[in-house]
């Protein structure tokens, strides 16, 4: 059953043009210049410091590095990060 679901999802995206972040439960990341990163659909905070933010996602982590980081807002599945962003990296588990 689960396998069928896994198989049907890429099909849904392809033929019904459903947004992939919702169907596949992937994070949606919006970056505004170097200033802001807005991450939706993450699975929790792993580490946070002035220079690094690591968020759990479905498979692995998102690692954002930079400087002067402030978490402008934290909601259950959303984070708004402010600072000077240098890198956004996907780290597999």
């Amino acid at each position: 059953m689960k396998k069928l679901q896994q198989g049907i999802r890429p099909w849904l995206i392809k033929y019904l043009a459903l947004p992939s972040d919702i169907v596949l439960e992937l994070p949606r990341i919006t970056i505004i210049g170097q200033l802001h990163v807005y991450i939706e659909n993450h699975k929790g905070l792993a580490t946070y410091s002035e220079t690094e933010l690591k968020l759990k996602i479905n498979k692995g982590f998102i690692q954002i590095t930079g400087s002067a980081f402030v978490l402008k807002m934290m909601l259950p599945e959303e984070i708004l990060l402010e600072g000077t962003i240098q890198e956004v990296k996907f780290v597999p588990e």
């Binding site: 905070l45 946070y48 410091s49 978490l71």
Partner: protein
């Protein structure tokens, strides 16, 4: 950021978390549905973040499950401000006192305005009001009703015919009407009545003096109509006949009304084509705030696509308590108007011309003159206009007083 926008009103605190991986405490918070913002990592073992005042009770519960040291470092927002304010007794006292002061000041009379009467009567009214306890500084609620004041004033100040008393906030406005005490007319010196215009006498009524003309007489300007010189011998007075037989002149002020038919030749032109404007009923209202020459539109933007516009402007000063602010509220009504032109026939134009001539003449002669008849002497049409030469008969009083010069 919508979630944190009202945080200033509801109040928020800054939470300082100390321990290993302090940021994970905020992760716990968000998982529990508590909104956290402005999270900063200050030291490897310390993390600060803001949260709403109403979420604090959940934080306490959360902390029982974890091992972090929590400290509230800052309190911001309206509830804290209010609490701080209430704690300052002197400020609160000041506000209560100022409330009482405003209440007190708005319940005493500030001004007694008297209009419509000369200065001396104004002074009298003022004195009377003072003795009745109506003066600047008196309590408003200790006064009688305006109606009673009105009656009392009219009774106590005999020069007043009527007085209107109106209370507008802290101002008492009195509008008086002075009784005009009619004094006897000064005796007029001896005089004649002479004609001011040429005409034919139609009616005569002489109340004093000796008539020199008769009905149907033709008079020229300056002709003596009624003489102020009465020869005593002509008077049928028995006593005088008994006493003095000699001729002696008596001088009187001639008085009377001499109605004569006068005539005027008037030239008028009446156009065959006339135009007038009328409103169609379409209108739009606009509102502005005006200071100096600057108009700030408040309501009603854009101009309606009317061809011709008739504007009605209504301005009102805005008041604060009792002072007028230099700001005016302007209401402009734009009415659509149309021009209609009408062509008239020659007869209609002539009629209109005669009507116009009559009106002009009555304006010139005053309300006592009566137009008896009119006749068109000559009529030409030139450049779309009718030129009329009219002959108008009028009945009017032509008598004018002329003092008799008395030889010293």
């Amino acid at each position: 950021m919508k979630q944190v926008q009202d945080s200033y009103l509801t109040g928020y605190v800054t939470l300082s978390v100390t321990g290993e991986k302090p940021e994970l405490f905020f992760q716990h918070c968000t998982s529990a549905g508590i909104t956290v913002w402005n999270v900063r990592k200050i030291a490897p073992d310390r993390c600060d973040g803001n949260l709403k005042l109403r979420d604090i009770k959940y934080i306490r519960k959360l902390n029982k499950q974890t091992n972090y040291k929590l400290k509230f470092t800052d309190r911001k927002g309206y509830p804290f401000l209010f609490r701080r304010f209430v704690r300052r007794k002197e400020l609160l006292l000041g506000i209560i006192l100022s409330m009482f002061l405003i209440l007190f000041l708005s319940n005493i009379i500030w001004e007694v305005k008297i209009t419509g009467v000369p200065k001396d009567i104004e002074e009298k009214i003022n004195k009377q009001l003072q003795s009745d306890g109506i003066h600047p500084g008196a309590w408003i609620f200790s006064l009688k009703s305006p109606n009673e004041i009105q009656q009392k004033l009219v009774k106590d100040v005999p020069e007043l015919l009527w007085v209107g008393v109106e209370q507008k906030g802290t101002t008492f406005s009195l509008e008086g009407v002075e009784k005009i005490i009619v004094e006897e007319e000064e005796p007029i010196g001896p005089r004649d009545l002479v004609a001011t215009k040429k005409g034919i006498i139609k009616k005569m009524y002489v109340s004093n003096g000796l008539a020199k003309v008769q009905v149907n007489d033709y008079v020229k300007p300056g002709d003596k109509l009624v003489s102020g010189v009465i020869n005593e011998t002509t008077k049928e007075d028995n006593k005088e006949e008994d006493k003095k037989k000699e001729e002696k002149k008596e001088l009187v002020a001639a008085e009377g009304e001499i109605i004569a038919t006068t005539w005027y030749e008037v030239n008028v032109t009446a156009p065959l084509e006339t135009s007038y404007e009328s409103l169609t009923g379409n209108k739009e209202k606009k509102f502005f705030l005006k200071t100096g020459n600057f108009h700030l539109p408040v309501w009603g933007f854009g101009t309606p696509d009317y061809k011709h516009i008739h504007r009605e402007i209504n301005q009102n000063k805005i008041k604060f308590l009792k002072w007028e602010l230099p700001v005016e509220f302007v209401e402009t009504t734009l009415n659509e108007k149309t021009y209609t032109s009408v062509e008239r026939s020659q007869e209609e134009a002539v009629k209109a011309g005669i009507e116009q001539a009559k009106q002009e003449l009555t304006l010139q002669l005053g309300p006592d003159a009566v137009i008896v008849s009119e006749k068109v002497l000559h009529e030409t049409i030139e450049n779309g206009k009718v030129k009329l030469n009219l002959y108008i008969n009028v009945e009017e009083n032509i008598a004018k007083a002329q003092p008799l010069t008395q030889g010293d």
